[in-house]
């Protein structure tokens, strides 16, 4: 399955805040299948770029374009935020919420949410209020909620930041299987090991600029910029 709302094209996209250019100008395209990994140091603009792609961030210049009618484009994407948004509901109802929006019946929605919840390892916590979850559990809940509408394009902003090794592997397995089902994934991470494991394609950001765009294999064997090299090696950037 190849997504109908791709390709996504960014043309000279710029974000300025408080008189400072925090991102761009950036031009890139996202299409086909696979996982695109966004790498870059803190403050390099990963979150801003993801939000701009998803249409959450007001852009100051340039153009973000998808294929097809606006409503369909919006409905077929999902976003996992760097800090998960918790609704004041039970974990189960949080995960089921997107289905309710689509008009799915409450019982069906809850059943499917329970399956998704169990899949990310929250099976025992489904009846608890969402705000009682630990940091890592919140991220798992957000992932389950994002996957429940089977989006064509899934954005994730450091989805494994608070997870231990085992949970990280579990999430990676889920992402790999979503990828195999045809979901196009764009995700940022600080975990270079994870980037190596998952990346079909890598975008490397530095100071709000796209410094490298290469296949995962290329990027990790022969990074073209010293900043990328240093980032991979875990060096402190100048």
């Amino acid at each position: 399955m190849v997504s109908a709302i791709l390709r996504l094209t960014l043309d000279q996209v710029e974000i300025r805040r408080g008189g400072r250019c925090i991102l761009g100008p950036i031009s890139l395209t996202i299409e086909g299948e696979g996982i695109t990994i966004l790498l870059g140091p803190n403050g390099s603009g990963k979150t801003s770029l993801l939000r701009a792609m998803h249409g959450l961030e007001r852009i100051s210049g340039g153009k973000v374009s998808w294929q097809g009618p606006k409503d369909r484009v919006r409905a077929r994407q999902a976003f996992v935020f760097q800090s998960p948004v918790l609704m004041r509901r039970s974990v189960l109802d949080c995960i089921a919420y997107p289905l309710l929006l689509d008009g799915v019946g409450k019982a069906t929605a809850r059943r499917r949410a329970a399956d998704r919840g169990a899949e990310v390892g929250l099976g025992d916590l489904l009846e608890n209020p969402a705000n009682s979850l630990s940091g890592g559990e919140r991220q798992k809940m957000a992932l389950a909620r994002a996957l429940i509408r089977a989006p064509e394009v899934l954005f994730l902003d450091e989805p494994c930041a608070n997870l231990d090794g085992r949970s990280t592997r579990e999430i990676e397995t889920i992402l790999q299987s979503a990828r195999a089902d045809g979901t196009r994934i764009v995700m940022s991470t600080h975990n270079v090991g994870q980037a190596r494991r998952l990346a079909d394609h890598v975008l490397f950001l530095h100071d709000g600029l796209l410094r490298e765009s290469a296949s995962g294999c290329e990027f990790f064997t022969a990074p073209a910029t010293p900043e990328a090299m240093a980032h991979i090696n875990g060096d402190l950037l100048p």
């Binding site: 998803h54 959450l56 409503d71 919006r74 409905a75 994407q77 999902a78 976003f79 935020f81 948004v85 918790l86 609704m87 004041r88 509901r89 039970s90 109802d93 919420y97 997107p98 929006l101 209020p129 705000n131």
Partner: protein, 234 residues
Amino acid sequence: MNDILQGLAEAGRLVITLDPDLAEITARSLQVTVTATVIASAIGLPLGAWLAVNRFRMRRVVIALLNALMGLPPVVVGLIVYILFSRSGPFGVLGLLFTPTVMIIAQVIIITPIIASIAHQAIRELWADYHDLLISLNTTRGQRMRALLWDGRRALMTASLAGFGRAIGEVGAIMIVGGNIDNATRVLTTAIALETGKGNFALALALGFVLIALAIAVNLALHMLSRTERGSRW
């Protein structure tokens, strides 16, 4: 001090003997205030939520106006409603002056801004939390409002209770528009004013204690109801 003890004793006696006058006045107080609170909530809660979610040009002005209306002096509201509903006023033909209905109208005018303002505050905070998620999920305006009103229901109940508290203890407006007529428009607060004027401090105090007990009972009952509701550990 003696007066207060006497008042307590009198209150006890009135309640225990189920004094018919007291029962009638109390029932009318409840009827007027509960009806006013329900109507004001039906207007104020969605209005507060709507103001929190929508951006429009006059938004700040409307919110400032709402906050100003919170401090509306009840006596003035009573006076204006009185003029509107008096025989020569525009609504005079309805013949509502000195009825519980016009007392409800006056109370709705007094407490709707309070309920809307508190609801607006609560929903605005919730909206700040939910904003990114609800936008990301491509929700319609109606879906956003529904999610916010539902998930904010405990804070909204507090808003309604604040309105109830203001209305049940209000005397100025309903005295003017209701007239404190025995067996028709007399409620706890107007009865207290009357008995105090007559020098019947014990009876006035007794009515006062009943009023306080009533306000506490309604608050407790609602909190208990919401506590037993499943998933309300927020």
